[in-house]
Structures are given as structure tokens and as C-alpha cells.
């Protein structure tokens, strides 16, 4: 199973980005192999439509779960129709590695 986490930087020590569409990086975690791939977000400075474009990028990586601080209204319905689970962590100061730890705790 693959999980996408929005990140402010390209290392596991970076914090969770509170925005989905205009986050700096997407961390794609493979829960089986524990491999992490950091993808810079090309829609970071978009004026409009950053959410749907980012959703497309994330969906193309076959993730089943997305962790972020918040999601916009356009994004929510896209992910719902793609059956991708959304996880919101409001006002979180957690780092990527802490979130990965939380996710692993489950498995």
C-alpha cells in the first residue's frame, strides 16, 4: 500500500505541509518496502487549480491514502470518486518520520 504525505522539505526530518495543493514536496511512502520517494510539487506556485493538478499527480502514483493538514473543496470530491482515503492533521507540527512511525504502528 502506498501513502502520500505532504511535506515542507525533501527529507524525513521536514515537517508536514499544512496545505495539500500547494505543498512543497510529496513524500510517497511504500508501507511494504518502507521506501520513501520525495517528489517536488510542480503546482506549488499555481494561481488556480493547484488542488486538482496535485490530486492527479498523487493519483498517478497509485496511492491509497493521503496525509495532509487540509484539503480544498475541489480535491475532496476527486479523491472520493477515486476511492483514495484522506487523512487530515490540523495544526500539526509533526515531521514526516513521526508520521511514518504512526503509520507503521498500525501495521
Amino acid at each position: 500500500m502506498k501513502v502520500a504525505i505532504t511535506s515542507t522539505g525533501n527529507s524525513p526530518e521536514a515537517k508536514l505541509d499544512s496545505r495539500f495543493g500547494r505543498c512543497s514536496y510529496f513524500a510517497i511512502l511504500d508501507t511494504e518496502s518502507q521506501g520513501i520517494e520525495f517528489i517536488p510539487n510542480p503546482n506549488k506556485d499555481s494561481i488556480e487549480g493547484a488542488g486538482p493538478a496535485s490530486a492527479q499527480l498523487v493519483a498517478s502514483k497509485d496511492v491509497t491514502k493521503v496525509v495532509s493538514g487540509e484539503f480544498g473543496a475541489k480535491v475532496k470530491s476527486i479523491f472520493d470518486s477515486l476511492k483514495i482515503q484522506l487523512v487530515m492533521l490540523p495544526d500539526s507540527e509533526k515531521t514526516i518520520s513521526e508520521i511514518i512511525e504512526l503509520l507503521n504502528h498500525k501495521n
Binding site: 491514502k65 496525509v67 470530491s77 479523491f79 472520493d80 470518486s81 476511492k83 483514495i84 482515503q85 484522506l86 487523512v87 487530515m88 492533521l89 490540523p90 500539526s92 508520521i99 504512526l102 503509520l103 504502528h105 498500525k106 501495521n107
Partner: protein, 192 residues
């Protein structure tokens, strides 16, 4: 120009594309069932909700729900009798899902696979979760108030409160959440 259609909420879209009749050569135009019609059938005949309840879940009025449901049944009947294919497609809908919050890690998550019961947090795996509901506003909408004595009653019909009459002072009731200037207009009892 008619008022635009309200966008219908679909909480559980079908996970396959349609139906095919057995033992017929493939041909003919398929019957297109909208997602909203699929949802109406699911809510009424599968989850066994009443029409008032189902209409509320889809975010439309009760008469509109009845029309969607009626149209769905006619399409299904047409497909059954004429042996046509059924495809699920289109409709003025948006997809929605149920949200839960976790009391341990403070996260919010939604639930996309309705078939599976949710029992643990999507992030930390804790069982200490609770469903999130936004019923507070909706409940205010359903309370009727008597302008004379101020008594409140639950409006079970989901209808206009104006049709209901207060048993104490036989006034026409008004909706509790009604805006003040409409409220004034409806205070017929005081005028008399």
C-alpha cells in the same frame, strides 16, 4: 430560465459500470442510469430509508427525491422488459464520504470503502475514534416555534412549519432558524 438543479450528494457510487442481459446478442442502445438514480435506489430499497430521510442524505427536497427514484425505477423496468444493457453514468452529483476523528493522534480521516466497517484510526491505528457529524445546523432547521407562546416542536415531516398549528394557542408555527424579517411577516397571531 429555470432554476439550476441542485447538486446531489452521492455517498456510495457503484463499484462496477453496469449490467448486461443474459442470452441476448449484444446490441441496442443501453439504458443510462445516473449516479443520483443509483443512489436513490440504494437508499430506498437497499438501505431501507424513508423518502424524507433519503432526500436529506442526498441534499435534495423530498419531492425531488421521489422524482429521481421514479425515473430510476422506470429505467430499470425498461431495461428488464426490453432486455437492454444498463450503464451507470453521469448525473449532477458530487461524491461524499463519512468523516471520523481520532481522539489519540487528533487527526481526521474519511472512509471510502463503505463495505468495510471502520474500527481503527487510519493514521495511528487507535480504536479511540468517533464519527464526525454536522447535524447541529440541520437540527435547528427542523425545529418549529410558536410565535405566541414560544414553545418549540420537532418538525418530523421536514415540511414548512407554517402548515403546523400550535396545540396551545392555535397559531401557525414558524421555523426557528427563520430570518428575523420573515419571522415578523409570519407572526399572524400577534396581529389579530
Amino acid at each position: 430560465m429555470p432554476r439550476p438543479k441542485r447538486i446531489r450528494r452521492v455517498t456510495n457510487p457503484p463499484h462496477f459500470k453496469g449490467f448486461k442481459p443474459l442470452g441476448l446478442p449484444d446490441g441496442g442502445a443501453p439504458v443510462v442510469i445516473n449516479f443520483e438514480e443509483y443512489e436513490a435506489i440504494r437508499l430506498s430499497d437497499y438501505d431501507l430509508h424513508g423518502q424524507v430521510e433519503a432526500a436529506k442524505i442526498m441534499g435534495v427536497s423530498r419531492p425531488t427525491f421521489a422524482r429521481i427514484y421514479e425515473s430510476a425505477r422506470r429505467k430499470i423496468a425498461e431495461a428488464f422488459i426490453d432486455g437492454k444493457n444498463i450503464v451507470f453514468e453521469g448525473g449532477k452529483v458530487y461524491f461524499d464520504s463519512d468523516w471520523y476523528s481520532c481522539n489519540d493522534c487528533g487527526c481526521w480521516f474519511n472512509h471510502t470503502e463503505k463495505e468495510q466497517e471502520i474500527s481503527s484510526c487510519a493514521l495511528c491505528g487507535s480504536a479511540n475514534i468517533q464519527p464526525y457529524s454536522e447535524d447541529d445546523d440541520a437540527q435547528l432547521e427542523e425545529v418549529c416555534q410558536c410565535p405566541q407562546c414560544g414553545k418549540e416542536f420537532q418538525n418530523f415531516q421536514a415540511s414548512d412549519c407554517n402548515g403546523d398549528i400550535c396545540p396551545e394557542c392555535s397559531c401557525h408555527m414558524i421555523r426557528k432558524s427563520m430570518s428575523p424579517h420573515r419571522r415578523m411577516r409570519n407572526q399572524k397571531c400577534r396581529m389579530q
